[in-house]
């Protein structure tokens, strides 16, 4: 499971976390709850298509 970087955001004291999910059964989909702390800059988010860095996954 990819762990988000969990260092505290210095100026806001916000700690991003990703809920740990114990895989109960195979072939089940699990969506971890993720707390977001950092955002893209306004124009950057329109260009990237999301305001959340953790969701930005361009195919390069």
């Amino acid at each position: 499971m990819r762990i988000m970087n969990t260092e505290m955001n210095i100026d806001t004291g916000c700690i991003p976390f990703e809920e740990y999910i114990k895989v109960e059964e195979l072939a089940f989909a699990y969506v971890p709850s993720q707390k977001i702390c950092s955002y893209f800059e306004p124009m950057e988010s329109l260009v990237n298509g999301t305001v959340f860095p953790s969701l930005y996954k361009p195919y390069k």
């Binding site: 916000c14 707390k35 306004p42 124009m43 988010s45 329109l46 260009v47 305001v51």
Partner: protein, 93 residues
């Protein structure tokens, strides 16, 4: 701020407001995100009013009409290039 910058900033803010709303759907008690959401829609509403006073209506059914002729039909239609903007080089940084 000229028309293009105003419209670009307004579009960016509305885009962020939608993304934050989607996040808040599943994180309704994240106060940091709520604060950010409130500041984004506050600025967006302010820019929307300014745009509609200076340039023209953004909605056909809820924009105050300036003057005694119906501006919605006189100003460019939403799909016309002149009613939109381009994302250009310095935005892509």
């Amino acid at each position: 701020m000229d028309k293009n910058q105003l419209l670009k900033r307004l579009t960016v803010l509305d885009f962020i407001a939608v993304d934050l709303q989607l996040y808040l759907d599943t994180h309704p008690d994240d106060t940091e995100a709520i604060d950010k959401y409130n500041s984004v829609i506050k600025e967006a509403d302010m820019l929307r009013m300014k745009y509609e006073e200076l340039i023209g209506p953004l909605y056909s059914f809820r924009s105050a009409n300036m003057g005694d002729t119906f501006k919605w039909v006189e100003t460019p239609w939403p799909w016309q290039p002149s009613a939109n903007f381009n994302i250009n080089e310095e935005d892509n940084k």
